[in-house]
Amino acid sequence: MIIYGTALLAICHLLGIFLGDLLGQALGVKTNVGGVGIAMLLLIFARLYMARKDILPKLTELGVEYWGAMYIPVVVAMAAQQDMVAALRGGPVAVLSAFAAAGTCALVIAAINRTERATEATAPEPVLHDNPLLADAE
């Protein structure tokens, strides 16, 4: 049943957010700490466990994969509700610090990622996913 997959996703999501809130409270921050990341880890482990026990039929997988494939449309909707007017009104301080921050990080990302290419260039291309719903998007 396709709903099993979506329900599994929902449970991991809720549990992750809950644990993230608990972690935030324990650390004394007024926010969720890595809730979505925890939810993702839960889903990864749930998938590994269920695949090993052989209780993960294709239809259940599709219940999760549909939402994974809906990801780009959701991001487009997210872009359409950014506060662009406020962002552009922020003036030179906002624009300058944002550009400088992004630029600095870009340099560091490039530096770190270049070290990888040297050491792992011979590694075989990993199989990244088997979501049939995505085949079209690529």
Binding site: I17, T31, V33, M70, A80, A98, I112, L134
Partner: protein, 254 residues
Amino acid sequence: MIEILQKAAAQNGLVTAFAIVGLIVLLSGQISRRLTFGRVHGSAIAIVIGLGLAYWGGTQTGGHKGLADMSLFGGIGLMGGAMLRDFAIVATAFEVQATEARKAGMIGVVSLLLGTLLPFIVGAGIAYSFGYSDAVSMTTIGAGAVTYIVGPVTGAAIGATPDVMALSIATGLVKAIIVMVGTPIAARFLALKTPRSAMVFGGLAGTVSGVSAGLAATDRKLVPYGALVATFHTGLGCLLGPSVLFLATKALVG
């Protein structure tokens, strides 16, 4: 006629949003294929169209939620809101290869820390050079350069003035937009190819919205790896901003 159609669309907000976003994606796919011959990723164009519509909606309504403030497009707010966004991000974890993710565990943590520290120093420094020389304003604007959620959370915790808060949020928003639009352009320079590189990117570039949209427009397969790290970004920033970073700034400028 038009009124009945408008009512139907407004009352079925989420369904309307699916239809509108579908049209945007279709349109950007055509633009990508016909005008740029596939050189610019369709998702990148779709995100830019979304941002453009957000600007248009913002000027039309004077609200803060772009297109979603217009009653006809209210469903966009639900579809692109935190709930469905996080739901879809979590779902992408289904494609993560656990071995790949584990390989980059340590470098992910390092880039997370750097991704909080570097933007903060740069942001606070620029705030200082523009005359925001007190520790509270510097910290708040610096925190805004981390993400647009860290900025106001930090500012509220240390008692920043409303105009500095607004500036801090604006800084974070501009950064998110730069990451969204700039990532596909800079992908080659950033060496964004492998899961590990996506995790480094997720830690350093920050902002879930920027990282997820930027990676989506670059290579959809890398999204879960970047998002996995980036989701810890805001939490870490909110943890360090009002505490360690504020105290350090205060010790420096008094």
